[in-house]
Amino acid sequence: MSGCELFLRTAAAAARSCRALVAFTASHRALRTSPPSRAFAKELFLGKIEKKEVFPFPEVGQEELNEINQFVAPVEKFFTEEVDSQKIDREGKIPHETLEKLKSLGLFGMQVPEEYGGLGLSNTMYARLGEIISLDASIAVTLAAHQAIGLKGIILAGSEAQKAKYLPKLASGEHIAAFCLTEPASGSDAASIQTRATLSEDKKHYVLNGSKVWITNGARANIFTVFAKTSIVDSDNSVKDKITAFIVERDFGGVTNGKPEDKLGIRGSDTCEVHFENTRVPVENVLGEVGGGFKVAMNILNSGRFSMGSAVAGMLKKLIEMTTEYACVRKQFNRSLSEFGLIQEKFALMAQKAYVMESMAYLTAGMLDQPGFPDCSIEAAMVKVFSSEGAWQCVSEALQVFGGSGYMKDCPLERILRDTRILLIFEGTNEILRMYIALTGLQHAGRILTARINELKRGNVTTIMETVGQRLRDSLGRTVDLGLTGKLGAVHPTVADSANKLEENVYYFGRTVETLLLRFGKTIVEEQMVLKRVANILINLYGMTAVLSRASRSIRVGLRNHDHEVLLANMFCTEAYYQNLFSLSQLDKYAPENLDEQIKKVSQQILEKRAYICAHPLDRTS
């Protein structure tokens, strides 16, 4: 009987891989950095859409909106009238008066709580202002290094005493902060840092020794959040090396800087080495728990990451204005550039990317602004990956529109291109983030699936019938309905088609995740190319969700140009749908579209010889 066979085969395969699965979920290092809660992305790995997390699209009250708009006006005025980005790039520094004006505008303490002298902005408001500050990348990076990571540790993990002592002067800009994690030998592998903090004899302070590299604001900061290894005695009395975070003042002594780095882009920001030589740090300056520094670092980085989406969207919107102006005025072959299809394509790309980025960023910001401590680290990582790559692609296309003049230093495009390149590298390289996105979700799915597979083993009849039935239905082809469309649907009927595409993708993604876990088990950690596809699919799914949620709201509320939004949303969803289908088919075992084996072979042979190994085309054998 085919039903029984199916059952037996499923159960047997499950039993075999079950042990592997359990091993995977148990051994894999916990990447959770905050109290677990049902955020959206993780459930996608199980083929489920947590509708209430993402529909309706987050709204702010009219009062708050008025306040945000009031903030935007002077900041925008300042950036358009008084910031000379070309000069900053050429001279490699931000003028002192500009920094002072930024301080007086209040931009150095945007997220510092009001009681400590800051503006206490919500994530949404911070994202909104980020759209304007990104008009000058050097200033944006300087401000972000100061508050999004430099002093954020004190807000997130600091004691009341530490907050009261340090935040007021940091919020006013009197003191500047820097985030010191990276070392010459430890970039992406942050856990391997060598800087050491040894507890003194009298246990009253730590002595800090080590070198940090590529620290933004390294030369002008007075307050550093430094991460160093400390030896702590574990619960089982073994001595381990764990990272601890410290608030270090330059006045503690022994803090020196290297010379400013000569960078490709963001040349106005100050980046240099920071050396600590026998710096004495009082024990009161430990940030968070001793040994809990890695978690503090991850929390800090996760909390600011999403704002890259709105910052890039703001930059793209300005770019679209500049580029369309040029395309409408410049004529070739007696027609303006704007009439040619290949140019029009570029504008559609820029508009689409900006729309998706905005939607993802503000959706994430809205989730983060919910009460409690929602864990949106995957969502934030997805926003960062999408926006950094979207930015690079769009700026390159915009430069192309300008043609030869875009290549000249007189035109701001070349500077924007150089400034944009760093986005894919810092704040977690996109490669690392893709691994993080994929593995965190797979870990979550693995845990849930292990439970189900245990039940199968135990012979729980309902679970068995469910699984068999599911497999049968899948193989016969099915229509997926996850509740997004229809009379009680969450999306507006105009975008129902795209919503159906999303549902289909999500369902098959969930199935594929299960298959992958069963196939690889623990070893999936090593399969970076598989993980890359998983991450890409997830990023697309999140993007689709964000645009559908936003477009539905725009239609329902009746915002200006909502039919244009529907166009963009449908366009993106269709594109992403087919990309996902391709990635999903590549993830099948023995898929002909999958070239991973060949890729591995080629790279192995090249890396062996550290060179291109083909014989020259002109070579002869004799």
Partner: protein
Amino acid sequence: MAELRALVAVKRVIDFAVKIRVKPDRTGVVTDGVKHSMNPFCEIAVEEAVRLKEKKLVKEIIAVSCGPAQCQETIRTALAMGADRGIHVEVPAAEADRLGPLQVARVLAKLAEKEKVDLVLLGKQAIDDDCNQTGQMTAGFLDWPQGTFASQVTLEGDKVKVEREIDGGLETLRLKLPAVVTADLRLNEPRYATLPNIMGAGPKASASGNGSADVAPMEAGCRRLGQGRPVNRGLPCAESQEEED
């Protein structure tokens, strides 16, 4: 000597950096979804009032704006720059289009008397209609002396010395308070409303009043017949290419 009270009128206009588009039916310009901000000359007037207050010559600054609900934002900017109180004379959006210098001057005159101010400051003209009439008409209604196109303002006891930029050069007048002064470009450089000040302006704004009850309803003064782009004179210069689009 800080017994003086100042009334500053501010107008919400389309931002100077925006590219103006005429409506297809040529009844006006597109304002929907377009960025608006405080008239630059009004900003200069507010800045002057705030500087006088900082020099302790003026005790209280009241900001006034006539127009639809969005004018609250303009008043709030004035409060963030340093005004103490705001009065919004609410005019429904439909009628706001017909609001002209005559009507606004009447409102300002009434408010100046009601609030017993000693100095009325305005921008010399608004960048949308370029009328350059409101200040003068206000002075007329109040029967107060006026110093227009001011490039320097000095308070001297119960008088105010105003240096005016006129076509022939500079003219200096000494006016007896109370008086009306309109600000010209070189009077000062307005400060930025800092974000902490904008946040602080919130409570000030909610405590401010709505002044529409005190003023008589407006009758339409002039009626706009149409609005369109200037005729292209076909001059061979680089900019004309852009203008066409």
